[in-house]
């Protein structure tokens, strides 16, 4: 079902939707950005149209809804274990741009399919989540979703476009339950779009090209020489300051550590928690006794790069795509202006040069 609606109708619809679902969408926080006088945009529960940041990409990805920054996995009270219940039992809709929907599907692969069994904590919230699409046509400065083949997606139940018949909001609904909720709206004629506008046709569009384009290495086996090429990676040894911001803002970074804590006031009460871990930050690969497998920032950059654009696809298969979806957040947020898309291009150029020279 497709319909062009007024902001009033949208809010009524969201009101009804909120009875059944928690709705998460990007929200702008004035002046809270990393740099002075900058805003930050992150995902929060929303109820009305005006709360939502429609125009810009969110600083942080929506992944923390399904994979929180920090999460208690077990509560310990004396010698008893308690598994915390979920905060809300309501099903969830997340309004996302196509790259982010694809990003969540990338981390699904790790939490649900990698290893001997599913991740209980991820699965129990993931099962409650459905996707809604925020139409994205032009992308933003650092996006390269088209190159990553992550610019399109059809796994959403409803999609919203603001660009078709401004000031009307275009909504396409593919899910019968949501359509029923939509039709259950009771409004008076003064608040709704006139039928000739309401029923005008439209197509939800996707980005077809980005300002940034990356060439992916076109090889089946990454040559061993590139791993140890210090000339190539050393640029990041000092330039990267290991702040981990590229990992925390990335929609597909899914690593975590497990820590136990004891509350100060009582030795008997504590918890085991899971917290985001960053492969750029020291200790990620440190073993007991202090030996660290990747000590310098160059090898950590190499590790992340291959994870994002080589290892993941190699492990999970062609049809799953690369882990990186080209959302560009790593480039948006790096305080050292390190561009990941540039690294990918440099890597591909270096590999093709090697191939042309007949090196292995």
């Amino acid at each position: 079902m497709k319909r062009n609606i007024t902001k009033n109708e949208f809010n009524l619809f969201f009101n009804l939707l909120n009875i059944h679902y928690d709705i998460f969408a990007p929200v702008r926080k004035k002046g809270q950005g990393a740099f002075s006088d900058t805003d930050i945009i992150y995902y929060e529960k929303v109820v009305t149209f005006d709360e939502i940041e429609w125009a810009e990409k969110s600083t942080y990805s929506p992944k923390d809804i399904v994979f929180p920054v920090s999460q208690t996995i077990i509560n310990f009270i004396e010698d008893r274990l308690f598994i915390p219940n979920m905060k809300s039992s309501k099903p969830i809709y997340i309004l996302m741009r196509p790259c982010d929907i694809n990003g969540i599907k990338r981390i699904d692969e790790i939490f649900l399919n990698n290893g001997p069994s599913e991740d209980f904590y991820y699965k129990r919230i993931r099962e409650k989540i459905s996707f809604a699409l925020i139409e994205c046509i032009d992308g933003f400065e650092n996006c390269f979703c088209v190159s990553m083949n992550a610019n399109k997606n059809s796994d959403w139940d409803f999609a919203i476009s603001l660009d078709k018949y401004r000031p009307f909001i275009s909504i396409e609904i593919k899910n019968a339950k949501i359509e029923n909720i939509f039709h259950s709206m009771v409004t008076d004629a003064s608040n709704i779009a006139a039928p000739e506008v309401a029923n005008k046709n439209f197509e939800i569009c996707f980005p077809e090209k980005n300002l940034k384009k990356v060439m992916l290495p076109n090889i089946n086996e990454m040559p061993a020489s590139i791993y140890s090429d210090s000339e190539f990676w050393d640029e990041y040894k000092n330039r990267c300051i290991a702040c981990g911001r590229c990992n925390t803002t990335c929609v597909t970074c899914s690593c975590f550590s497990t820590n136990d804590i004891r509350y100060d006031d009582s030795q008997n009460v504590g918890e085991r928690q899971r917290v985001w871990a960053s492969c750029h930050i020291s200790k990620f690969s440190m073993m007991a006794g202090g030996h660290e497998m990747r000590k310098d920032n160059a090898s950590r950059m190499r590790f992340k790069t291959f994870h994002k654009i080589y290892d993941y696809k190699k492990r999970f298969g062609e049809e799953k795509g690369h882990m990186c979806v080209g959302c560009g957040r790593c480039d948006d947020n790096c305080p050292e202006y390190i561009s990941f898309s540039m690294i990918i291009n440099k890597l591909s150029a270096r590999i093709s040069a090697d191939i042309n020279e007949g090196k292995k």
């Binding site: 996995i73 010698d79 008893r80 598994i83 791993y227 690593c255 975590f256 550590s257 990747r294 090898s299």
Partner: protein, 273 residues
């Protein structure tokens, strides 16, 4: 004791296991024998995620097992392992697992098996050695090379005494001493030459120990004509979840916790961290 929201699919719930016995191996290593009542029976070389509530969790290899018990040999090195070392018989350790792949003991039938273990690397292969101690007839030949830093670092002395009587066992110390007079001294690599290489094609080698020891020992066996695919190693990496989720143990497209820790040297040699 776990509350009602406990879900059988939640693999992160650790289960308490009673300590039946504690053997002090060295000043920093103790072997804990646990009553295996709940967790699944392990295979040779697998590991458990071992924890103490409110203290921490760590991967620990099974150093031996029977139907109803498992041994864990734990080195005191940090927060959790320090606490474990203060436990007494009758206390409990929390386990989840067993995880990881294992040494393919059945595939060694009829082979000439050589095991080279350095230091606490002996723990994950002790169950394999004891299996063939009991079933020596399954092998064409069995040889054991073990290396320790000093005489005070010897692990499983009570086992080694039995092993030495039944098959060739070379024990070398990096640093000898009066008590070790006339016995092998030097690195384990110096003793690879003493292996019987007369039936090269039939030899399988297991190497466990610190990364450098694995590399140099494997290179010696390769130089002696053993194929890399017939050399099996067990690897240690930083782990948190043990089940392919947390990403800490990943090397290239491999997750050591669930694809390993046991690999052929042919594969392990190509890992770049």
């Amino acid at each position: 004791m776990i509350n009602q929201t406990y879900d059988a699919n939640n693999i992160f719930i650790p289960v308490p296991h009673k300590i039946m016995d504690i053997i002090t191996e060295t000043e920093i290593d103790k072997t804990y024998r646990l009553n295996l009542n709940v967790a699944g029976l392990p295979s040779y070389g697998q590991f458990y995620e071992v924890s103490l509530p409110k203290i921490g969790e760590a991967p620990i290899s099974v150093s031996d097992f029977e139907k109803d018990w498992i041994d864990l040999t734990i080195r005191k090195i940090g927060t959790l392992t320090n606490c474990i070392h203060s436990l007494k018989i009758g206390d409990v350790l929390y386990l989840r697992g067993p995880y990881g792949n294992f040494f393919p003991v059945d595939s060694f039938a009829g082979k000439h098996l050589v095991i080279a273990a350095g230091g606490c690397g002996l723990a994950p292969v002790r169950s394999v050695i004891n299996y063939f101690y009991r079933n020596l007839e399954k092998l064409a030949k069995f040889e054991l090379l073990m290396g320790f830093k000093t005489i005070n670092d010897l692990l499983f002395k009570y086992d080694i005494d039995r092993w030495e009587k039944k098959f060739k066992s070379i024990i070398t110390l990096d640093h000898g001493c009066d008590l070790w007079a006339d016995r092998p001294v030097g690195l384990i690599t110096d003793y690879v030459g003493q292996v019987d290489f007369s039936d090269k094609e039939n030899i399988c080698v297991i190497i466990v120990g610190p990364p450098v020891m694995i590399k140099f020992t494997a290179d010696k066996f390769v130089a002696a004509g053993i194929k890399k695919e017939n050399i099996i190693v067990s690897m240690e990496r930083r782990m948190s979840c043990g089940v392919g989720k947390c990403g800490h143990c990943k090397i290239d497209s491999t997750y050591i916790c669930c694809d390993g820790p046991v690999f052929t040297y042919e594969r392990a040699e190509r890992f770049i961290d």
